[in-house]
């Protein structure tokens, strides 16, 4: 009898009278977040216009108000005073973690967006600049860095016989001379395994100097690296 009197509503996830919806929400059979209260209110409003029985409309009004109250309560942050200290700390940490994860995802999207934006060039972009000689056209900087790092790490830190005090200038001369004789030398022949760590470093500095002044460069042929003169 009650149901007969009640106003019926139809929504995406629910069809029936308001008090049933309220009951289901309270029993957590229906997720309140999935109910568009705005639409419900709009339906109620149009239905109320045709209703003559005040009791009938009052029921619906009360149901609507309760739903609104419930939903707004859930939207607001919950009172933490009821929680024990440990619980609230845990909750706080969890919330913070979730928030951080969210921003980490956002950062990824932002990176994606940045990459996509690289495809659009505005007017007056920096004109093409003549590149400064690096001597590293065929091998990436990081790759080269790794090779040198490995070499230095693998080299024996001290030779048994006292090493001489290596200097960059003589090594430069030596490199120049070798290249003028041979044009191209396998990289690992120059940077040989048996060299001491100190000698390797000095040799490397000499090589860098010559690469900077565009006299030497590193080339790659069939995966092998060569040191060669500028015009090779």
């Amino acid at each position: 009898m009650f149901a007969e009197k009640s106003l019926l509503f139809s929504l995406a996830h629910f069809e029936g009278p308001l008090h049933l919806l309220l009951h289901l929400v309270q029993k957590e059979e229906i997720d309140l977040y999935e109910i568009a209260l705005c639409e419900l209110a709009a339906q109620l409003y149009t239905k109320l216009e045709g209703v003559e029985n005040i009791d009938q409309s009052a029921d619906a009004m009360e149901g609507m108000a309760s739903l609104l109250l419930l939903k707004s309560q859930r939207l607001l942050p919950q009172q933490t005073s009821e929680l024990t200290e440990e619980e609230s700390v845990r909750k706080e940490i969890l919330q913070q973690l979730m928030e951080y994860c969210q921003f980490r995802e956002t950062a990824k999207l932002l990176t994606l967006r940045e990459a996509r934006q690289m495809a659009f060039f505005p007017r007056g972009a920096q004109p093409y600049e003549e590149k400064i000689a690096t001597g590293l056209d065929e091998i990436s900087f990081t790759e080269f860095q790794k090779i040198i790092q490995n070499l230095i790490l693998q080299a024996p830190p001290h030779k048994i016989i006292q090493e001489e005090a290596w200097q960059v200038a003589p090594k430069i001369e030596w490199l120049k001379k070798m290249i003028s004789l041979k044009r191209a030398v396998p990289f690992f022949e120059v940077f040989a395994q048996e060299l001491g760590r100190l000698e390797l470093i000095v040799l490397f500095l000499a090589l860098l100097e010559l690469m900077k002044s565009d006299e030497l460069k590193i080339i790659r042929e069939n995966m092998d690296l060569y040191i060669c003169g500028k015009n090779v």
Partner: protein, 185 residues
């Protein structure tokens, strides 16, 4: 006279094109209107409409550039289709990309601005001084005041450069733009 042959609208569009062509940064509608108004009094809405017409003309003619609404203004940029070619000319164009940490800090500021350093650190759980100073240096964020609490810490927000870096019209677009990126994943 050549000019008398073209219509008022046509002439305004020419002026618009010249202004956009001469500028490497986004020009606001207000600025464009201020300049054009010397000759042709017109409302912002009319101006906006003429810009849209110009945009459509470029599209129809298949131009290699387009007028985009970025950083509270309008900017001429090459189209995405031209990227493979233009890229070859400007290989070292925009310097290094942002680090992961820097991007996270930027995301937080983008959504939570104005925000203090300690509030950012509370979210990330680590010190952010380095990221903040590099973002400041790159002009992507700026201090926009002080928070009225003990110690009056600086508040940070994103800059116009941030908007142009990410090709956004304004900050409210950030969310939609990122949803789009998510959709492309």
């Amino acid at each position: 006279m050549k000019q008398s042959q073209i219509t008022r609208e046509g002439h305004i569009k020419q002026i618009l094109e010249a202004l956009l062509f001469s500028s490497s940064e986004a020009l606001s509608l207000a600025k464009l209107r201020e300049i054009i108004q010397h000759h042709y009094p017109l409302s912002s809405r009319q101006l906006q409409q003429l810009i849209e017409e110009l945009q459509a003309e470029y599209r129809i003619q298949g131009r290699s550039f387009q007028i985009e609404e970025i950083a509270h203004g309008f900017l001429l940029r090459t189209t995405e289709e031209m990227a493979p070619f233009v890229e070859l000319l400007h290989q070292d164009r925009r310097g290094e990309k942002l680090s992961k940490a820097g991007m996270e800090v930027l995301a937080i500021i983008g959504f939570r601005s104005p925000i203090t350093k300690s509030e950012i650190e509370a979210i990330r759980g680590v010190d952010c001084s380095g990221s903040l100073s590099s973002l400041l240096e790159r002009g992507l964020i700026e201090s926009i005041g002080r928070k009225e609490v003990v110690g009056r810490p600086l508040l940070y927000g994103v800059t116009k450069k941030f908007l142009s870096h990410f090709g956004l019209k304004d900050i409210t677009q950030l969310n939609t733009a990122l949803m789009q990126s998510a959709g492309e994943l």
